[in-house]
């Protein structure tokens, strides 16, 4: 009776798994690979079958099947169509049945406007030459950190003392994803790729496993409201320190790592008891104002002898420009803006889907505000949250970013299919799990190679596009909004984005 459907807890399945019985050779690879108990093998009947209600649509079974016998299809509920209530019936039922608010993962999946797709880039024709990146040098090197108002040079060289800078060979870094949310092997892969590509990965708020200290020189360490795993060695290993005030996927609330994911090594790294929930408070309890933030920034700078830039990460919210201005004045060297499409390992659905601002808009207004106030040089801007491809990177930089963070894109490169089950800890692709058997599914040798491939291809694509625009250095693209034109946007949106409409 274990697998009998019961009306009491019935919500129609989101997916239907179709199996071509002629092609199925009963190798049972799919049965073993399904970590959500959706696929079974019945010995007596010699039959592989599926409990659709448990299927999360991760497509692991379809991917592993050697005969291509499996197709996973989205199941549309066959209720009478109702534009107003469409999609709300089941989510309402779930709350009513279970008495709790659903927790979800990944980024906002609602059909809000994607401004990246309403912006077009320029290219040189006749009156100015385009550049071929395969024949001519193209510079992608970027420095993040506070820049002086002016520099003094004499015959012996630079006289101005510069504040510490992060040197990036490509303007793409791996976003904060903690060890705890992600498996050991994924962190290992991110670290290897960052080292190889001359960029940085962010430890996230879960501290740093001792094994990963070897990536020193390519790590940004995060200090979040839970302060998990923050100690002297941790700060020393980081090339920069990031204070996480907010996260795009869940602005205004803290983090929550379920106890099931707090394994022996996680508990050691996070300095907390094994099996207990890791709960980060919503605010930093010592940061209730810009002045408090300044104290924290300088406390971290003091403790690292002013050798490392300090970044402050905020979620894009309504007054983002004013907040960013305050952060710049509080002494931050880098501001990370996390848009509402940014991912997460766990967030209440209502928060993920309804709070925050698009990254594109926030980036434009923050860059504009800092320029108007004459303090843009005090901080570098890092754009984060929903960067999907290399052209999003180019557009972000043209809107005013110095560099970008990629999180979801990096996970997809490793295998993620965005089934939004990170919070369950059962990731069938071995990414967001602490199960030692599941996490073997990410082979760091293969995954780091894929990440390196991704960054190399994106770098080439960025160079190609820059070449088309007649630009040979990423510095010349920064805040260069004349290379952007808006399509399908209204006057106010164009004004806020600071770009001209197509044709003007």
């Amino acid at each position: 009776m274990k697998w009998m459907k019961n009306l009491k807890s019935y919500v129609p399945p989101s997916f239907v798994v179709e199996r071509d019985d002629y092609r199925c050779i009963r190798c049972k690879a799919c049965v073993e690979q399904c970590s959500f108990d959706a696929t079974f093998y019945d010995d007596e009947e010699d039959r592989v079958w599926t409990w659709n209600a448990n299927c999360v649509g991760c497509n692991r079974c379809a991917a592993i099947c050697p005969t291509d016998a499996i197709t996973v299809k989205r199941a549309e509920p066959s209720y009478r169509y109702n534009h107003n209530w469409n999609g709300h019936v089941d989510s309402l039922k779930k709350r009513a049945i279970y008495g709790g608010t659903p927790v979800v993962s990944m980024g906002n999946d609602k059909p809000y406007p994607i401004y990246w797709d309403n912006m077009l880039l320029n290219a040189s024709q006749v009156t100015n030459p385009s550049i071929d990146p395969l024949r001519e040098p193209m510079e992608l090197k970027t420095f993040l950190g506070r820049k002086p108002d002016s520099i003094h040079v004499d015959d012996s060289g630079l006289k101005t003392r510069l504040t510490p800078q992060l040197e990036l060979d490509i303007p793409i870094m791996f976003a904060a994803m903690s060890y705890g949310a992600l498996s050991y092997n994924v962190i290992e892969s991110l670290g290897r790729a960052a080292k190889e590509m001359g960029t940085y990965y962010n430890s996230g708020e879960g501290g740093l496993n001792k094994d990963h200290y070897k990536f020193k020189g390519n790590i940004i360490v995060q200090v979040a409201s839970g302060r998990f795993g923050v100690h002297k060695d941790y700060l020393d290993v980081g090339s920069a320190i990031e204070i996480k005030i907010g996260q795009g996927a869940k602005p205004g609330i803290g983090g929550h790592l379920p106890g099931e994911k707090v394994s022996e090594t996680i508990s050691e790294t996070r300095m907390m008891p094994k099996g207990s929930d890791a709960i980060s408070p919503a605010p930093h309890h010592d940061v209730y104002s810009i002045e408090d933030l300044r104290q924290l920034i300088y406390a971290l700078k003091e403790s690292t002898e002013y050798k490392k830039p300090v970044a402050v990460k905020i979620a894009c919210v309504h007054n983002v420009a004013a907040i960013a201005s305050g952060i710049a004045r509080a002494g931050a060297d880098i501001i990370v803006l996390d848009g509402f499409k940014g991912g997460t390992g766990a967030s209440p659905q209502v928060i993920r889907d309804n709070i925050g601002l698009p990254l594109e808009v926030s980036l434009a207004v923050v860059d504009e505000r800092l320029r108007q106030e004459g303090i843009r040089q005090y901080v570098s801007l890092v754009a984060s949250g929903g960067i999907r491809n290399s052209m999003d990177v180019v557009k972000a930089i043209a809107l005013g970013a110095d560099a970008v963070y990629i999180g979801t894109a990096a996970l997809i490169a490793i295998g993620c299919t965005m089934c939004q089950q990170c919070h369950t800890g059962k990731c069938a692709w071995g990414i967001s799990t602490q199960d030692p058997h599941l996490s073997k599914r990410v082979n760091p040798d293969m995954a780091s190679k894929r990440l390196i491939n991704l960054l190399e291809v994106w770098a080439l694509e960025i160079k190609e596009t820059m070449g088309a625009m007649g630009i040979n250095s990423i510095e010349s693209l920064k805040g260069n909004r004349l290379n952007l034109r808006g399509v399908g946007l209204n006057d106010k949106e164009l004004e806020i984005l600071g770009i001209l409409p197509a044709g003007e």
């Binding site: 050779i25 073993e32 690979q33 592993i64 071995g430 199960d435 073997k440």
Partner: protein
């Protein structure tokens, strides 16, 4: 000489090495026909599991192969390439090789009319890269020079 290196840290217990081995040693070398139309060959590798450890094990082609020593009529022998293989025509199924093998990777095929046949990894003589290595989705089996 090249061998198949087993990397247990990467094995995901999908059994595709076994599937590939069966297909490679089938008559048709077609996955559907091998499993559904023919008498299915025995997989020469086997995936062992004891949570969270899993690994695929197949003949190590030992330098001092005890199975070759134990074979009463020289059916178990080293071929031109240096790999340990069975001569199916002369094997009488006495299973002494199975008794001698320290890895337990020789299997009994009792489906012949006359007598049994010791079945083990032959390092895919028709292929450059053994089928199991090629099929492994997570590079838990790799081909390496020793």
């Amino acid at each position: 000489m090249k061998i198949v290196k087993i990397r247990e840290d990467n094995c995901i217990f999908c059994h595709l090495c076994e599937v590939a081995c069966i297909v490679e040693h089938s008559q048709s070398k077609d996955i559907i026909k091998a499993f559904k139309r023919e008498e299915k060959p025995i997989a020469r590798c086997s995936v062992e599991f004891n949570y969270p450890v899993s690994l695929s094990v197949m003949c190590r082609h030992c330098d001092d192969a005890p199975c070759v020593e134990a074979c009463q009529n020289g059916s178990m022998h080293r071929d031109d390439r240096g790999y340990v293989v069975v001569d199916a025509d002369t094997c009488v199924g006495c299973w002494m090789c199975i008794m001698a093998c320290p890895y337990g990777v020789i299997k009994r095929d009792t489906r012949r009319e006359s007598w049994g046949l010791s079945t083990k990894c032959d390092f895919c003589p028709d292929r450059e890269i053994p089928a199991c290595v090629e099929a492994c989705p997570n590079e838990a089996l790799t081909l390496e020079e020793i």
